[in-house]
């Protein structure tokens, strides 16, 4: 639609209240023989509408309301009338004058409006152009998962802990019931560094975040025995194993979970971890199974598998976590009496959770720093 045309229509609508004016002008039918006021209004409207600048409008105004203007002339013509006629005629002319003034004002406003609109039109911008300035970066998907895992466990009161990545043999293995030479040590190929710990054994890169179980529990054992506060903690962090191919990275992230109190059972482990998976994947449409396994630090031990009921991975059992009831020797190493305190621990791969969550097929993508990959998580 042409905005100019619309403005013109509005102007006409505002300025032509003729029917009511005519009615008011001829209340008793007397004026029917006198055509002047109606003619004046029509002429004024036409003249004002023809003006397209403020200056010409002021000229047109003089033609009606000036000293020799048409309305003024009508007023002058009243001198010869009787008082009774004056009264009627005066009212008619006043109405006419008001109508002309209203038309004038309307036209003035319309002209001002037109000029403002023209100015604004000249200032218009292309709103579809991109915004100015810098963009947004992104948090790494593994860290997104890390944070989500923390939030989910925090919702039932789990604390978060992290500690050293170069770790002592005792915390990584022996305290977890995996003494030197134990066959279970071959389950995890370990990186060693060129320094020995205070016990004379070589220091190592932690193969899991389970050492944090021991460190955290030793720091809080007093709260358990004195205040009856359970140990509820997750320990997410970097871990290392001598392994490198499409499905193994020499460095990866694990989240360890631990809940120790007077009565935390294997059934509770099943409840908590199943609930976690449902919350993490935001669906109840997945099955979880626990199957017997072996870890030196738990007994009974379970491998946790999950299976989606829909989506691209539907129907396949996927290993997601190791878990079990914390071994009494480990509880002893926490500084607690295993006779009195029991509970569960689990350890899950954060990359694994991330891959399943976002449909990522190749572990190596996490460590390449490729912006084309990372930008998808902005």
């Amino acid at each position: 639609m042409d905005p100019g045309l619309r403005r013109g229509d509005e102007f006409r609508r505002m300025c032509v209240p003729e029917p009511s004016l005519t009615q008011r002008a001829t209340p008793h039918g007397i004026a029917s023989s006198r055509e002047e006021p109606t003619g004046v209004i029509a002429a004024a409207l036409a003249d004002f509408a023809a003006c397209d600048t403020t200056a010409s409008l002021e000229d047109a105004k003089a033609k009606y309301l000036g000293k020799t203007g048409a309305v003024t002339e009508l007023l002058k013509g009243m001198a010869a009338l009787s008082p009774e006629q004056k009264k009627t005629r005066g009212a008619e002319i006043n109405a006419l004058k008001s109508a002309v003034e209203a038309a004038l004002k309307a036209r003035r406003d319309a002209l001002a409006n037109d000029s403002l609109n023209a100015k604004l039109a000249s200032e218009s911008i292309d709103v579809t152009l991109p915004g100015r300035g810098r963009g947004n970066g992104a948090i790494h998907p593994v860290m997104k998962t890390w944070q989500r895992v923390e939030e989910i466990f925090a919702s039932i009161g789990f604390d978060v802990a992290d500690g050293p990545e170069i770790e002592a043999d005792w915390f990584n293995f022996t305290a977890l019931n995996n003494p030197p030479n134990h066959p279970a040590r071959s389950m995890q190929d370990t990186f060693y560094v060129d320094m020995n710990g205070s016990d004379g054994l070589p220091l190592l890169l932690r193969t899991h975040t389970s050492p944090m179980q021991v460190r955290y529990a030793r720091m809080h054992a007093g709260d358990v025995t004195a205040k009856g506060k359970p140990i509820k903690v997750i320990a997410p962090g970097r871990t290392y194993r001598v392994d490198s191919d499409a499905t193994h990275s020499p460095m990866f992230h694990q989240v360890e979970g631990l809940w120790i109190a007077e009565d935390i059972s294997f059934a509770d482990l099943k409840g908590v971890y199943t609930d976690f998976l449902h919350r993490f994947f935001e669906t109840d449409q997945l099955q979880v199974r626990f199957r017997p396994s072996y870890f030196p630090f738990t007994e009974p031990s379970a491998e946790i598998d999950m299976k989606f009921e829909s989506g691209p991975l539907k129907g396949r059992w996927l290993e997601i976590s190791g878990s079990g009831q914390v071994h009494p020797s480990v509880v002893k190493n926490f500084g607690l009496d295993p006779e009195k305190y029991i509970g569960f621990a689990f350890g899950s791969g954060i990359e694994r959770l991330t891959m399943l969550r976002y449909g990522i097929g190749d572990l190596r993508l996490f460590f390449e720093g490729d912006l084309r990959f990372l930008k998808q998580f902005a």
Binding site: L129, P130, R132, R134, N136, G137, A138, I139, H140, M143, I156, G157, D159, E165, I166, P180, N181, P183, R185, S186, M187, F191, V193, D194, M195, G197, S198, P202, R215, R218, P230, P250, M251, A261, D263, I264, S265, F266, A267, D268, K270, G271, D275, V288, R289, R291, P292, Y294, E299, P300, Q325, H327, F366, F367, G369, D370, L371, R372, L374, A378
Partner: protein, 800 residues
Amino acid sequence: MQFSESWLRSFCNPSLTTEQLAHALTMAGLEVEEVTPAAPPFTQVVVGEILTREKHPNADKLALCTVNVGAWSALPLQIVCGAPNARVGIKVPCALVGADLSAPAGKPFLITQATVRSVESNGMLCSARELGLSTDHGGLLELADDAPVGADIREYLSLNDSKFLIKLTPNKADCLSVYGVAREVHAITGAPLVAEPVASVTATLTEVLPVKVLAPDLCGRFAGRVIRGVNAKASTPAWMRERLEKSGQRSITALVDISNYVMLEVGRPTHVFDLDKVHGGLEVRWAKKGESLKLLNGNTVALDENVGILADAQAVESLAGIMGGDSTSVSLDTANVYVEAAFWHPLAIQGRARRFNFATDAGHRFERGVDWATIPAHLDRITALILEICGGEAGPMDDQIISIPERKPVTMRILRAQKVIGVAVSGDQMASIFTRLGLTHTRSPEAFTVTAPSFRFDIEIEEDLIEEIARIYGFDNIPAMPPLARAVMRSQPEAQRSLHALRARMASQDYFEVINYSFVDEAWERELIGNPDPIKLLNPIASQMAVMRSSLIPGMLANIQYNASHKADRVRVFELGKVFARDASVVDGALSVAGISQPLRLAGAAFGGALPEQWANPKRTTDFFDVKADLAAVLPDDVRFEAAEHPLLHPGRSARIVLGNATLGWLGELHPKHLARFELSSAPIVFELDVAPLQQLPVVSHVAVSKQPLVRRDMALVVTNSVHSDVLVTTMRAAAPAYVRGVEVFDVYRGAGLPDGAKSVAIRVLMQDTERTLADTEIEGACQQMLSAAKQQHGATLRT
């Protein structure tokens, strides 16, 4: 461990399908990793006997055979064959016309009547590869002489079978044999278990090889016997070969095969010595430093007091429980043997093979524990097999019991088991589980007392029994219950910014988070960071991942290089991770390891345009001040930037970031000399910060806003270029009265109108009193005080 389903079912045969059986094992803790058919599906292949063989009339390399296929054809079949070993009298698989070999061939392949070089051929003689049995394509698969002509090859070779590959956890030593797995199947399913295979041997010789066990902490029981007059060249019977092959064991010689067979069948590793190569008797003892042994596999290992050995009068002959020696090994010429079956204490074997960097099936079993009670029975079993297959005469068994483990009874309280599992498994259910597992027990109203059989090495404490109950009861039958716990409120300290919040801030400043390896190229540490002694990995997987990083920045430079090589012209990355350095001041603590500092750092790098290339802003390369502004999002307000040099950074464009008296981190432009190493066209701006101070976030303590008018005075001071703006500001602040609220640089100008080597620094001064309106004289006085201080200390002049 791998074995065939039919072998397992010969001991315990539950009415379950292959798939159900695999599932049942997996759910009992014997994870079945793979079930593969013994052979791909094919049809109409039968045992054929080559009756005649003539040269093909029209082809040099082909032969014309007539083959007897029994009832399948009244007359012998004429078949063209190219195999080099096709000869009269042998029995081979013969695919009849109509046979479908598509599956082994990997493409549609039907045997039809064919004409090969004008000669009719009515079938195909097959190699092992053509049937998908192995990759061997050396010639026709030769069957045993007694193979029944015309028999279906699938029946004859038991090909309608499956191979199970199970992944055993280290505690399941008792399942390292087919019989052991069968015991488990019995426990899980209740299907009857056939008794272990036994044999009785009558000694016809009296000879005994003298054996002295000198180390009771190494060898708990030692049994052996002499067998003379064996035929080492005898061929391994087909049934044994088939079971070995389906277990992934290649057939070697009869004596080796028999030893392997017994190990797979009942889990008993044995060792067969060539008796004629043994000098005098044997001694079982710990090795002495300086001794060495050439092993069966050809490697020579240096020994010491930590390794158990068998030695004869002259030399060390075997690595106890792990591997035999080369000099006494059996060969095809061996006539007389000594067969050993012993109990080696697990602690005496554990870790030994790994020390020498290899693994053996025997060592794998002994370090987990092998039944000592069945040694005589198993020695008889292997002897009987040797006599049956290789012939010979056996001497009496020499069985010495030195120090066998004691099986202490273990008590399991019913309530404790129910509490740990979280289900009220009944006492009767528990009793039935123990019985099925072969765990002898007595029962009181509250508890069971179990004495583990000699084949179990994983029953020492109450939890070991609770695990058995839970495992056989079925983890699936344990409900998943949300725990009941007291609802106690928790909160994050407001004065602590979380690492996630820190990450979010960096991301909102247009940086992408990366995760780089903690181990890096040693050259990075030495040459970029100037760290002469990084912490080294003893066993790195690659030389460019050989030392622990003490800085995150080189990794970021590699990230830029990677992305630039993929056509990215603007790269902004950050990482939050630990760095590692030797530090004698660190002691063992709740969260520390002596001798190493492992602080968390935040580092980042910005390369290319200050802004993404866009229509609205001119193109400009990121500089120091862009990144300095980005860092305002994470740095405390009261940090200072001091010009300082760093080996990685441009000496004139690098700053140490200081908080109080401590260095918080570094910010600067990469030194141009490092550009080439990372193939960079322009220098990125990099930074690295200690994370701990960035997490401090003091809780706000509100200060009332003054209602008095704010006065602003701007002044331009001319100083030499070497005067740093923050020094100027500090001087002016120090000279200013209390009502001066702010002194800030808002412009710097160099060029026309100023002397060479000088700059004009425009400074805005804000003044406001909390109580009253400032008088003009106070305002002017303050300006004069600040100006004269700047003049005195830095030679500043007011620009006019």
